[in-house]
């Protein structure tokens, strides 16, 4: 559940930052249509979807619960929960969005490595 949440949160953050409105909120002064920003947004968009796919893949292939069914359920719950968290941050703490997204990704890596070590 924690790993699902962290990966989905990182993914949602990337997808939010790929949108013009949240991109400009997170980096005030950046013109989201400028070529560099547009390219970054395109990459953020792709990595966001890739991360969502990756987290689902991990949930299905390395279930942390007693069954794959429960793991998929937990993933769906984490998907919604992390979307709520990303929205809350985009609303009230937009400039912190990029840092928190990256931190979640780093933490997810750590959590995944440690949970794999146990096996």
């Amino acid at each position: 559940m924690l790993l699902d949440f962290l990966l989905c949160f990182a993914a949602w953050t990337a997808l939010a930052l790929a949108m013009d409105r949240h991109h400009e909120d997170a980096w005030p002064g950046v013109e989201s249509e400028a070529p560099a920003a547009a390219l970054l947004r395109q990459r953020l968009f792709k990595s966001g979807w890739a991360l969502l796919g990756l987290s689902l893949g991990i949930a299905l292939c390395f279930p942390a619960t007693s069954s794959v069914a429960l793991s998929a359920t937990a993933w769906t719950a984490a998907l919604c929960l992390s979307a709520l968290a990303a929205t809350a941050l985009a609303t009230w703490q937009a400039p912190r969005l990029p840092v928190l997204g990256l931190a979640a990704l780093g933490l997810a890596l750590l959590v995944f490595c440690f949970s794999r070590l146990g096996h």
Binding site: M19, E33, A69, L70, T73, A83
Partner: protein, 560 residues
């Protein structure tokens, strides 16, 4: 709703506007009922905890003993001599007492008995509907402890659920910018914009949960709502043979001996059975899986024992069962419903009930339910706010028309009044005299009485002050709950917190937190006046980036 003002694609307008109409009116007509169903259903995730909190006499029971089933059986025979059937639910970490149900005649109501988890002695707890009320209200609108009209109630809830499903699907079509505004919530803009954002965000972020809970809610009563298929496939001597259908759905062969139902003939009294060997065999076969309940009945071939696995052991509802001959203790059948259709049904059923959930997941489900309630509430308020803004744009200081006044009143009375009524129900549980005859129904009278009073308040004051009054009263009631609990019982925070007894402390803390949140909301309502209409009633801010829809990051928006 936003669709009504965008005119650049006339050929698409038709469909979206048709859906917008359907979304608005299906939402409005059954919105208040849906809100009540959603709120009480959400509370039902903590049904066991409410059941316990509302019976403070059960506080401090020890963990259960391995021989408890046998002792409880002895106690039951003493309490109800000549009993011919019973269902015994064994204690788990959420319900500390043994719960035994039995009935004298095949179609009569179940008698219930609570037993001590170690000694098996009968426990005396106050008479209350407990958390079962929220549970029963949310799917059959039960209004009394031993209510009638339950089938009619299920039909009404079914219609409302179907409307909810329609509103969800049409909502995705109607709120055109739902994916473009995926993360967008602008509370500071105030008025219609903020309410629309709140409605969209609370709607889309948890959409998988809403779709699951609504669809599975319809599916659970599929035999009632859509009987034709079953009637065609299971013809019986007298109409439809629903019993064969349901026994197949539960993984049985039609006509098999069943501990759950039998003929109408008066059955022989049960002898004392040796349950321990059967329980240890079950534990062995399920590799340590928990036993949920033991069902025993005597039929023409003697006593039959059915051991059902704990339904928290897996996602699919309809747990595995073992059937034993009562006298010899010999295992007769292992029943575990499989097959693709049965599994699909069981998984959807299990997702709806959330029995699989541990504490963390249970809170997540609860939170999603709260958010769903807020989504319905914001939709209903949006209806009022939008109409009001339109009216005021045409003629400033226009009076509130009758229909809008009624909707505003219902919003305050039925939605704002519901948390207040729930608090009143819980307060009544602590304050009504213990020996009062018909106590469960008296508690329910408090619930419905306060709800009606709130509706009257709403009808008198369909305004911001009305909201503040009802929510302020609710805040007060929730803040009083831990105090009243401390004065009337020994299950209060002063005892449960030092003991780290979270199943009791969690309730009181949650009530206090709810009270504080409602108080903050009331304060906000009293302090902040709404922004002038002209500033925030403008159309959705799509002019921010004229060509935004063509950038790659927003390609999802075009699908919406």
């Amino acid at each position: 709703m936003t669709g009504s003002r965008t005119t650049h694609q006339p050929e698409q307008e038709g469909f979206r506007q048709a859906m917008s109409w359907l979304h608005t009116w299906s939402g409005l007509i059954l919105g208040w009922l849906l809100f009540a169903i959603f709120v009480t259903g959400t509370l039902s995730f903590f049904k066991s905890e409410f059941n316990l909190w509302m019976r403070p006499e059960l506080h401090g029971l020890p963990a259960s003993d391995s021989d408890v089933a046998q002792r409880a059986q002895v106690a039951l025979h003493e309490h109800a001599p000549g009993v011919s059937n019973f269902i015994m639910r064994l204690p788990d970490e959420r319900t500390p007492a043994v719960n035994v149900l039995w009935r004298d005649k095949p179609n009569s109501r179940f008698e219930t008995l609570l037993l001590h988890p170690q000694t098996g002695a009968a426990l005396q707890a106050r008479e209350t509907a407990g958390g079962e009320f929220f549970y029963r209200f949310h799917f059959e609108l039960r209004t009394a402890h031993k209510g009638r009209w339950t089938i009619q109630g299920r039909w009404i809830v079914g219609v409302a659920t179907l409307m909810m499903f329609i509103a969800l699907l049409t909502g995705v079509v109607t709120h055109r910018r739902i994916f473009k505004d995926f993360f967008t919530f602008r509370p500071r803009k105030g008025g219609q914009r903020a309410w629309l954002d709140a409605h969209n965000v609370s709607g889309v972020l948890v959409l998988p949960f809403y779709l699951m809970i609504t669809f599975s809610g319809l599916m659970i009563f599929h035999a009632m709502y859509m009987p034709a298929g079953i009637a065609a496939a299971y013809p019986g001597a007298r109409g439809t043979d629903t019993q064969s259908y349901f026994s197949e759905l539960q993984g049985d062969v039609p006509g098999a001996r069943s501990a759950r139902r039998g003929g109408n003939a008066q059955a022989e009294p049960l002898p004392m059975l040796d349950l321990a060997p059967m329980l240890s065999q079950a534990s062995l076969l399920w590799q340590g899986g928990r036993v949920g309940s033991i069902t025993v009945r005597s039929d023409s071939q003697g006593p039959l024992v059915e051991i059902t696995r704990h339904d928290g052991d897996r996602l699919q509802y309809g747990p595995a069962r073992l059937r034993f001959d009562g006298r010899s203790g010999q295992l007769q059948t292992q029943v575990d419903p499989q097959g693709p259709a049965i599994k699909t049904y069981g998984v959807l059923y299990g997702l709806h009930l959330g029995r699989f959930a541990d504490t963390g997941m249970r809170w997540v489900l609860f939170g999603f339910g709260v958010l769903g309630s807020l989504m319905i509430a914001s939709g209903l308020i949006l209806w009022s706010v939008k109409r009001r803004a339109q009216a005021l744009r045409k003629t400033p200081a226009a009076p509130l028309p009758f229909g809008e006044r009624l909707v505003a009143s219902f919003n305050i009375g039925l939605m704002g009044g519901l948390p207040l009524a729930i608090a009143a129900y819980l307060l009544a549980n602590r304050l009504l005299p213990l020996e009062m005859p018909g106590r469960p129904d008296a508690e329910l009278s408090c619930f419905f009485g306060i709800w009606i009073l709130a509706l009257l308040l709403g009808l008198i004051r369909p305004s911001r002050q009305g909201w503040a009054l009802v929510l302020g009263l609710a805040a007060l009631a929730y803040l009083l709950l831990p105090l009243v609990n401390a004065l009337t019982t020994s299950t209060h925070l002063g005892i449960s917190l030092p003991a780290l007894d979270w199943s009791w402390a969690g309730m009181d803390l949650s009530f206090a937190a709810t009270g504080l949140m409602l108080a903050a909301l009331t304060r906000h309502l009293l302090r902040h006046k709404p922004l002038p209409v002209a500033r925030h009633a403008g159309p959705a801010k799509s002019e921010r980036k004229p060509n935004a829809a063509r950038t790659p990051g927003d390609s999802t928006a075009q699908e919406a």
